[in-house]
Subunit: 188 residues, 4 copies
DNA sequence: CATGAATGAGTATTCATTCAT
DNA sequence: AATGAATGAATACTCATTCAT
């Protein structure tokens, strides 16, 4: 018996994500994904029972990824100001480095048939744990978790989605956003 | 027969937006839209030269709608604090009242084949004009336009997209967000 | 607007029936039927909402055909013996002249998902009416309708299905069967 | 391990026949049969070289089964009238007890790609031998073998296929059919 | 302007079969 | 002998679009 080739599954996931970045969630048909991954359409159905299930499963999996990435940017000795900078810059760097996954997750989270199963807050609970520590140490203000998430992540995503600005404008905008969030979130 | 034709086109637009809310951008096929609008598929091609063009055109049109709605919530005699409340509450009310259009615009704006043509900033220029007045009067701080947009609109959208919370929780969250934005944006 | 081309629907039905004779109910795929009928696969779905529905509808339609054919072979002035001969020979002639339809109906009536909707007895009610007249006139014995159908039609079908015998053997067999049925069914 | 292998092949055959009763000859795919039998699809190809060959072989095998069953219902001391009753009731009992095999054989025997290889008369030669004895003893009339088969078996099959009648109606119908066949076949 | 019929190219999915272990 | 992974070709069906009226 041949053993399951998990590299093959990885290639399927990557092909799907790549195609969805290029052509939108519409354009990513099963046969295109198969061709892009170098497998037969039938092979996809060994790993996923339907296209819908595949989307949902990969969406679920990748929705955590940005927060894991983020956590790696943060050092324990940082103070509150550095933490906010690390989060904003780390999240933004993620959107650049993993453009396809970012675009994929953004598209899926807007799709009514997919988004219901994945909640943002479950994904970023590690970040919340960290923020709670800073709140307990009196460095970060005690705004509620949902609003912390709302102001920390969605403005960065908003900036990352706008491809019209040049790199130095972006840098200036990020810099200012960090300043705004420091004023808003740090205890003075 | 100007009104009748206009009516038909309006019905097509509404049918499309309704379908996209229900079934996602995939599920809205031309025939389904036609059936939902009560016209023949061929009729749609009288008003739009292709499905792609139809999506783009209606997206363009509706992407302004939330800001027009917003502007109607604002009275000239409001002070800065009232302005911020009106913007946040107005925008959130819009996402509830025009759920389909909101979902449609959100989906389109993440779709790589569509979003390139419509920039958020063009859509909310009226709101910027207003904010500039308040900045000139020394009531609102002089953060850059892109970051003003980022913190004023995307957190509200983020909250509006999360359907897991009950109404009284939502109200508390909005209240807190307004307080946060007042601290951040008003001159003290 | 183009008008529905009922000749096209006829060609679809004939193509289906022809294919099912040649390759069995397995081999008759929608695309093969379309190719055989000279239309696009999509066209079939203008006339039938699914393959299952198409099979069921055409089966229903054709299951009456043999009995209509039969009735045309019968003259009012025939006596009981001539009636039985006309039925047996007429039914057998039908199986030869409409080989594809006969094979199609035989196959469908054995398929558990199709046969439940079509009852043989509804199809041959005209023949029953006729037999009742002969029973009332004292020419045909008063066996029950189901058993009349059982002995009049199924042995003929059984003979018609066996393609191993030559024509003169068949003729002799039919002749004998007629004699058997006369003995069994006529009042002496 | 002779028994184990035999077991596996038996399970495959039974799974196939069961599935064909439930879903028709279309619905019985190799993978479904394998799943139903609890073996791998590849295993089926150890016992049969193709699906077509498997169908043909199992059809061939099972097409005799009803006549073997029948022969067991018959005692040597029966007279002609009892013989006919035993055949009719025995055959009918078979269709009830082995519903799946009966349905399977009926479906296969109508399928043009399968039926050509199996002739009914070869299958029931034991029954013919028996009938010839009764004919030689002057109890059963000397109708030809094909017509004997036609009137003895196909009406029963016809009745067995009609699932619309209740059990007591069926009993009455069988009773009458036995009477008919006694009149027709016995020497008076 | 408006239509329903018509379609070739595409959709997601399953098929019978073979491969590698 | 037996397996589950793998597949190219096929499945039923739908798509965006055009045609003829």
């Amino acid at each position: 018996m041949r053993t399951k080739d998990f590299d093959k599954q990885q290639r399927i996931k990557e092909a799907m994500v790549r195609l969805i970045l290029q052509e939108g969630i519409n354009g990513a048909s099963v046969s295109k994904i198969a061709r892009e991954a170098g497998v037969s359409p039938a092979t996809i159905y060994i790993y996923y029972s339907s296209k819908e299930e595949m989307l949902a499963e990969v969406f679920q999996e990748y929705s955590h990824q940005s927060y894991h990435y983020l956590m790696r940017q943060i050092q324990p000795e940082m103070d509150g100001g550095q933490l906010i900078e690390a989060i904003v810059r780390g999240y933004f760097a993620y959107t650049l480095e993993h453009e396809e996954v970012f675009s994929f997750v953004e598209q899926c989270s807007r799709c009514p048939t997919l988004s219901s199963n994945v909640s943002e807050e479950e994904c970023c609970c590690e970040v919340f744990d960290l923020l709670h520590e800073y709140q307990d140490r009196g460095e970060v203000r005690r705004w509620s978790d949902p609003n912390l998430a709302a102001v920390l992540f969605s403005p960065v995503r908003f900036i990352a989605m706008d491809h019209s600005r040049g790199p130095e404008m972006l840098e200036a905008q990020l810099e200012e956003l960090i300043q705004m969030l420091r004023e808003l979130l740090l205890v003075h």
